[in-house]
């Protein structure tokens, strides 16, 4: 008998389960074993300031990751290697500058990097970049191992099962059995719509590629500022340079975005487009060997912020979905927000911007 049922054993479900178990609750985590974003994604821990709510959640969560880091086993591969945002022209450098001011004002450690200093820091970068912004506290980790570590907590039990229906604080499994608890937490990413069709979650396909081991070529996670301008605002398929140095010495290459498909096949044209963008910023990449490519689907919400809170029409069902590309980053913050709301405590950051009501309408119960 569980106090709370969590649907989804990815990083969000795992973080929520760990936080609830830490409060003494018995948690049952159900997972259908389907491919999810935690297994596919880049494990990038980054502060993003497209809007204040995104900044608040990512900044808070990054701090929580830094606190958790000493407890993480080696397999989680946590590194605080910083994100270096790259400006290709004066316009992007201006964006870097205003981000710098904004982040500094919010207490996020960062520094502007000049064009010449850029090459000292990252000799592999192409010529002609305008400069960059280094966010020192950003990091990386291996999300599947981290989720497993979180789930390996007393009072958490796991079951391989597919949920076919939710009814408030009750769930029906594929085998027809109903389970109930004080609360049910929906944390199954792109599969959330299957159980709650009213959720405004859309799958956003992403391609990834990883190289063989080439230690020492890149230090920081390299992301183009064009990412902010092009990728977020476009509705069609888009790519942006995202090169992450793995502790293994492999280079992890992203990022691409496509709507309107659930086909997990690697699409050659998209892979080529994404790799071209990456080699534009790091020409030497072209000579390195890629060993593996795959795809994943991010659970995207219309405003780029997750839905965290009780479902306004389904009492007993709590939502922790729609994290798009910030699931790993904001897992601790999501868990803390959810636990605070469950226990009717003051949350560590304002919960309002992430409440499901903003899409689903006001609560029908008291």
């Amino acid at each position: 008998m569980a106090d709370v049922i969590v649907i989804g054993a990815g990083i969000i479900g795992a973080a929520c389960a760990q936080a609830l178990a830490g409060r003494g609750l018995r948690v049952l985590v159900l997972d259908a074993g389907l491919p999810g974003a935690t297994a596919a994604g880049m494990g990038h821990l980054l502060v993003l300031d497209d809007n204040p709510a995104e900044l608040a959640l990512s900044q808070y969560s990054l701090q929580r990751w830094r606190e958790l880091a000493p407890a993480l086993p080696d397999g989680c591969a946590y590194r605080c290697n910083g994100t270096l945002w790259l400006a290709a022209n004066a316009e992007e450098m201006a964006v870097a500058h205003s981000k710098y001011l904004n982040l500094q004002a919010q207490g996020v450690a960062c520094e502007l990097i000049s064009s010449s200093a850029l090459h000292q820091r990252e000799p592999e970068l192409c010529e002609g970049l305008e400069g960059g912004l280094l966010i020192n506290g950003d990091g990386i980790l291996y999300a599947p191992a981290t989720a497993n570590w979180m789930l390996d907590t007393p009072n958490i039990s796991q079951r391989r099962a597919r949920v076919s229906e939710v009814d408030g604080n009750r769930v029906r499994l594929d085998n027809g059995h109903w389970l109930s608890a004080e609360a049910v937490i929906l944390a199954n990413g792109v599969q959330a719509n299957e159980l709650c069709p009213e959720l405004p979650i859309e799958p956003k396909k992403g391609h990834l590629l990883i190289t063989d081991r080439y230690p020492g070529k890149v230090t920081h996670t390299l992301v183009e500022l064009g990412y902010v301008t092009s990728a977020h605002n476009a509705s069609g398929p888009s790519t942006a340079c995202n090169i992450q140095p793995r502790p293994t010495g492999q280079l992890f290459i992203g990022a691409s975005r496509q709507f309107g498909t659930t086909d997990p096949q690697v699409e050659g044209w998209m892979l080529a487009k994404m790799l071209r963008r990456a080699t534009d910023y790091m020409p030497g990449l072209a000579q390195l060997n890629g060993i593996r490519a795959w795809t994943g689907f991010r659970a995207a919400s219309p405003d780029g912020l997750p839905l965290v809170g009780q479902h306004p029409q389904r009492k007993g069902l709590w939502l922790a979905v729609g994290h798009e590309g910030l699931g790993v980053t904001t897992a601790p913050g999501t868990a803390d927000l959810l636990v605070a709301q469950l226990f009717d405590e003051t949350p560590p950051l304002a919960a309002q911007p992430y409440l499901p009501q903003r899409f689903l309408g006001e609560s029908v119960y008291a």
């Binding site: 063989d212 293994t248 000579q287 390195l288 060997n289």
Partner: protein, 78 residues
């Protein structure tokens, strides 16, 4: 008979000799160090196991499937 450099040592080999064989002729035949620090040498001999990855003229290639060429520079992985 091509002459090539293997980890800084010159070696002349018969035409058609593989880089894997050349490494055994000039040294211990090892090609790389594994993730946990073990020395490794070619295993499958036919381009599958990837144990014989070396750098040849700046590119990472398989020693067992590459023939020695005059002037080639081969570096094993540390």
């Amino acid at each position: 008979m091509p002459e090539l450099m293997l980890d800084g040592c010159a070696l002349r080999v018969a035409e058609g000799t593989s880089v894997a064989a050349a490494l055994a002729l000039s040294g211990d035949g090892c090609t790389r160090t594994s993730v946990s620090g073990q020395r490794r040498a070619p295993l499958c001999g036919m381009g599958i196991c990837q144990e014989c990855r070396v750098t040849i003229d700046g590119r990472r290639r398989l020693a067992c499937q590459t023939l020695c060429r005059d002037g080639m520079h081969v570096e094993t992985q540390a």
